[in-house]
Subunit: 798 residues, 2 copies
């Protein structure tokens, strides 16, 4: 099994021609043709085209040439996109860096540490402010909308002609959603969805283009306001995580490339290693603001992102989370004209669960577990449906205008379905004196009563969740809940993946809360002893947890988030059990929703461990070879040619020493990145020039930091014919001590080193320290455990 021959070289992998199609896994000993750009590349190119994660701008020209091709495309789960680059979490320890570190005093490191805390505080503060802004704007706009529609409905209830109200509602919703969809689809497609899969990838070490830019943030915030106000089955919590991450990436760099402002601060943090840490903190701050769950935020960041756990980093992340929820709480308390009352820690407030009235008993635990299993099943169904829907979208709904139309259609359908349900519902409930319903609709109910179905539909999802948790027993009848679950399930499933900026947390909670409450009511009705089953809110909470767990499949962080959101740890144990059951059951059928979307994007995502049965693969078989190496002192022309070679996508080059005159092979002496070479070329750091122009200042680390992270392409750098004859001395700039592995190292061992240290390039050497290959993220991400054992994904230029 272990003798897979790899003729496809790293440098020309994408150029080799081969037949496209449903490629079978590569691990059967014979060589399979790879998908290439020439033949199947076109159709594959389409796959990634219009999905949420990253679109290259220069695609319109290709698009036309692809018309008329068969629409049938290969199952793209088996592909790995070559489009995504890796982030580099390994410090480039070259002479410049070491000199700077050595110059720095103990006090200097202290100051750095303090500025890290300051940055984290700022991240938390700004994330909290953004959450506050979203919350207030959504509340105001939704208030106006519901008020208008309510008045309209009330006017027409008596006279008949409610269809006008329906049209009003549908048009209002569609308008909001249209605005939201237009800015997302036309201006920043990466802002679509919740952004959680993208942040997961970023923290995993995949460079998702434009994911942490200011423009993305603006579109995201506006988009989420539009889609929530537009009455879609979405939440505003997921996007907060993305927003927090963007804030973090922006603040920590002390400049905005989009706004062309450089504040000349935090320059030390301008590299992937530091930036990633801050983005973790930002994501945590986002979770914290969304759910009022600072500890849950930290755990989310760790569960999704961190590979190497660092105590100080964790504290900083915790600090950012804390500040974030506190800021939100503080400003919301002012907004609610009750300053100082810190009772709004998050965007969603589950309300207070009083432990006395809602204590659970030992014999309820099997029930909870059964509900967890049901949640897992429903979650898997949700994911399965959404998976096919996404495939459909990728294939047929490419164009931004189509996407906008689909979003508007969903908005209109949502309004129509809601209205129909409310219209035909005869679940009238008496309106208590201190009722909590914001917009109680009387409709055809008697005076002093309101329509119960409207509480669930005619409301922001957050309020609906809260009323399902807390309204007293008897507020909903089972039929209402059943119908609501059914319709909302399909609406939410249809909605997720639209080109609007919105999250899936709240819809999941709402579906789960509805069927959970239904379970509670049914249990109470079939048992004689009503006292324990009296409160269906308890079951609504368990159901909400089960459904959410079944869809997103997080356990530890989600448990803590839910516990923090309920404000009561008594429910810790049942929630844990439910989430675990939901995960186990759900994983049996289908992956988690975020993982599905990551896979559909063919992102080279590294999991926690190498596949269990991969011990028979060694670095030699996994690595890419031959590798383009550079000499320690290299001709400029050679470097330019290598960098300009469009058929390669090299980003790291081993630097070798060739003893002149000797026939001994070259020994590894360092590693240099494409981005470094670009900066060197831009500044014309040539040996000859250094000799002639002695006064020229030495290249400093600052020059690299200024260029980070948007290094210019090689095409933009002009090198004259004379300059091509010059030499470049890389000694000072290369990382002189790259991590290496011997060629016989097993894949799990390579994987562990790579993952634990967050590497981008790992040099494979023979026993005399000669370069024989290079392991990159894609080489490792290719292997995954499929249904029939180890499978190898194919690399393709999607």
């Amino acid at each position: 099994m272990a003798n897979i021959t790899k003729k496809v070289s790293w440098s020309s992998r994408t150029d080799e021609s081969g037949a496209a199609g449903e490629g079978t896994p590569l691990l059967n000993g014979s060589e399979q043709p790879r998908l290439s750009r020439q033949s199947g590349g076109g159709s594959i190119f389409q796959i990634g085209r219009l999905s949420t994660v990253d679109l290259e701008e220069e695609i319109t020209s290709d698009e036309d040439s692809l018309r008329g091709r068969p629409k049938e495309i290969p199952h793209n789960e088996k592909l790995l996109s070559l489009k995504y680059e890796s982030l580099d979490y390994d410090n480039i320890e070259n002479q410049l860096f070491l000199e700077e570190e050595r110059r720095m005093s103990h006090m200097g490191f202290r100051c750095l540490e303090i500025s890290r805390w300051v940055v984290c505080g700022l991240i938390g503060f700004l994330t909290g402010l953004i959450a506050c802004f979203i919350d207030i704007v959504v509340e105001q706009l939704a208030g106006i909308k519901y008020q208008v529609v309510k008045e309209n409905i009330e006017r027409f209830t008596e006279f008949g002609g409610l269809s006008i109200s329906l049209i009003l509602w549908a048009v209002l919703n569609s308008t909001f959603v249209m605005v939201g969809a237009i800015i997302v689809a036309f201006f920043e497609p990466i802002a679509a969805g919740s952004g959680i899969p993208q942040i997961k990838c970023y923290l995993n070490g995949v460079k998702i283009p434009r994911v942490v830019r200011l423009k993305t943030l603006v579109v995201k915030v506006c988009g989420v306001i539009c889609s929530v106000v537009g009455g879609l089955a979405v939440g505003k919590e997921g996007p907060m995580i993305h927003s927090g991450a963007v804030v973090a990436a922006g603040v920590s760099q002390g400049r905005s490339t989009s706004l062309k402002r450089d504040f000349k601060i935090f320059e030390y943090f301008r590299r992937d290693t530091e930036k990633r840490d801050f983005v973790s903190a930002g994501a945590a701050a986002g979770v914290s603001a969304a759910f009022g769950a600072p500890v849950g935020g930290v755990l989310f960041s760790l569960e999704e992102g961190a590979s190497f756990w660092n105590q100080m980093l964790t504290w900083r992340i915790f600090f950012a989370s804390m500040i974030s929820t506190f800021t939100l709480n503080f400003f919301l308390s002012i907004y609610h004209k009750n300053p100082g009352d810190l009772s709004n820690p998050g965007l969603i407030n589950f309300g207070r669960f009083e432990s006395e009235s809602m204590a659970y008993n030992l014999y309820e635990i099997p029930l909870f577990i059964a509900m967890g299993a049901l949640g897992g099943l429903l979650g898997a169904l949700f994911n399965f449906l959404n998976y096919w829907l996404t495939i459909f979208r990728i294939r047929y709904i490419h164009r931004p205008c189509l996407q906008v139309m689909e979003a508007m259609l969903v908005a209109a359908v949502t309004a129509t379905v809601s209205f129909t349900m409310i219209y035909f519902s005869n679940d009238c409930q008496p309106l208590g004196p201190e009722h909590t319903e914001e917009y109680p609709l009387q409709l055809f109910c008697a005076d002093g009563e309101y329509n119960s179905m409207a509480t669930a539909f005619f409301n922001t999802p957050e309020r609906s969740v809260r009323s399902l948790f807390h309204n007293p027993a008897g507020t909903y009848n089972p039929l209402t809940l059943g119908l609501f679950t059914l319709t909302y399930f399909f609406l939410a499933c249809w909605t997720y993946g639209l080109a609007v900026s919105a999250g899936v947390f709240i819809p999941s909670l709402l579906i789960g809360a509805a069927w959970g409450r239904l379970c509670g009511i049914l249990l109470a009705s079939i048992t004689a002893n009503g006292s324990i089953w009296a409160d269906p809110g308890k079951y609504a909470l368990i159901g909400a947890g089960a459904q959410l767990g079944g869809i997103v499949r997080m356990t530890l962080s989600l448990t803590v988030i839910l516990v923090e959101a309920t404000g009561n740890v008594t429910y810790g144990l049942p929630i844990m059990l439910v989430l675990m059951t939901a995960k186990i059951v759900g994983d049996y059928f289908e992956e988690g929703l975020y993982d599905i979307h990551i896979k559909l994007q063919s992102v080279p995502f590294l999991h926690w461990e190498a596949p269990a049965t991969s011990h028979w693969l060694t670095a030699r078989e996994v690595m890419s070879s031959p590798v383009t190496c550079l000499n320690r002192i290299e001709k400029v022309g050679t470097i330019v040619d290598i960098l300009s070679n469009t058929s390669t996508n090299h980003n790291g080059f081993p630097v070798v020493v060739q003893i002149t005159g000797s026939d001994e092979p070259a020994k590894l002496c360092g590693l240099i990145l494409r981005s470094q070479l670009i900066v060197l070329l831009k500044h014309k750091v040539f040996v000859e020039l250094a000799r002639s122009r002695l006064t020229q200042r030495k290249l400093q680390l600052k020059d690299f930091r200024d260029a980070y992270p948007r290094f210019p392409p090689i095409q933009s750098i002009h090198v004259s014919q004379d300059e091509r004859e010059c030499m470049m001395d890389l000694t000072e700039f290369m990382n002189a001590t790259p991590y290496t592995v011997p060629q016989d190292t097993s894949l799990p061992r390579v994987f562990k080193l790579f993952r634990a240290l967050g590497l981008r390039h790992l040099v494979v050497v023979d026993d005399e320290n000669r370069v024989i290959g290079l392991v990159t993220r894609k080489d490792l991400a290719r292997y995954h455990l499929g249904k029939h054992g180890l499978e190898e994904l194919q690399l393709a230029q999607t």
Copy 2:
């Protein structure tokens, strides 16, 4: 600065002679003599001798020879003990291992995964049972004790002669403590204290002898019962963490070496890598059972132990924690004759904090922060006093019998002080109809009243904490609280470090709760608006957090533990703020208590990162050299000689290939451990024998696992003169792909690799892959950031 010459070779480091004394840091460029066994070694030997962490058995002979030496010994914080070995978290990927892994099917890995979950479930269950056992026994015994004393006091209050009651109390306490101290001091000194520093070290990768043995567990459990019943200022929570760890180490190995029982299960887990994961789970289960804080337990394990965060592992740890608290809860509910009522999730129950009555306001936050600062100060004072006390104990209280006497003295003094305080207190409070006091002492109070000081002193510490948190305002007068804080502070400080098995969590909480409540009362009295300050219990909670944080300096895990223990997340934010403030203030003055004790034991503890200012050190300067290397096919006699050489403590040997006849230097081709060589010698795996006895079965991985973890010493293996001439082929057994670094790698880079992968040996090679040195834990732990920049600790045979 970077050119420290190191003449002290790795192989003979401890034998080189040099003057002992207050060695100044080594980093001043000149060479300093090292402490050696011949001169200063004797007195250093004494240092580690009678402290809590590990005692070698064969010390009595040396002890006599040391008499008459000056008692003045060097400040042993600047030493690093050579006594401690490292654990090896790097899989030994030799041919045997790889063959086994390759043979294993996907199903096999599934089964392994399931058995990991089963083991974690078992760990949780057993830890919960142990916690339950401790709780019930302590409650029963303490109940009897307090009842006896109370009756006695009541009898003598009227007639006078209360001194008899005092004597009775003191004698009872001393007796219990004596039993506890005797089993600890004479049978298993490692069971002293809370065990948290030891578990921290274990999870960090230091092998602390006997720390996870069954005997230790038995002594620990009995010891903690005795010391808590004996009325010392201790808690039973800390030891639970140690107990959980021992349970985990035992269960996961599927055998007990002490009981000589091998159940032939879980053989796959018999290596450091797997065992460490389970011990993490055990420690988490311990925290979970102690505080009813499953999430806190997971975070504790991660904060203290994990370097590489793995999602699946975290879930298993979480599962163990969950089962543990659930088991405790379930059995306690049966014991309390209320089965099914899950309201006792932990050993300490903070009681329910109702959010309505105890809400906090924004302007209270500065007050909380100030209390955090106070907690940090008091914590630093506590640690400072305990530090000097520990030094004193190490120097003068060596012998077990002295230790037992000290423990008895403390017990008697505690009883006397408590009695005196109660006697002279005139804080009488009316005894309400539904009073919660378990043993209300009337003493000189009027009928229907009880002595308030007695509530604090005449009670188990857990109950005292709860009454400080929840008793209504006015239960304690300020003088009572002030005096209680003062006396308990010094008592707790004196008690920690005694040769009894007990923890510092509860005393810290108690001290903090007392002065916190005092703050609350004072605040209420100086402000006009009494409604907000009405409940001093809130301040008691904040004070408890501040004091505990000031002493142990954990933040994230402690926040979660406290939040889970109060059962109310409303206090999350203030507790976080308080713990952070306490840590920042405390760290300014003194390290955390556990760190102090680890340092006093000269344990080579690796922190999260290399010291910030250590970039100018490279692997070449840090490594130990020359290294004893073995040939791939080596003479048995040579191996035996190397292993028998008592002057070395080698545990890993690079294996090299020397091309015969060529003068080229040897190239690295693998790494083999002492323990492996021992097994090979024991099984006489010699080339010649293999040829002659063809039927002899091949050595399997099982043979190594059976010998783990107590490999026999080389002295116990008989090798005849003929056999010495045989050859041993190491190819199959060595780890063929050890991690290596080039010699110019900077210390932080080496550190990162070493720490992230949990290595024991890291080979330093030159650019032709020739071995030039070896980096071990001690080489890295030596460098630490002192007050005057980077300092180098000295290695000594303590």
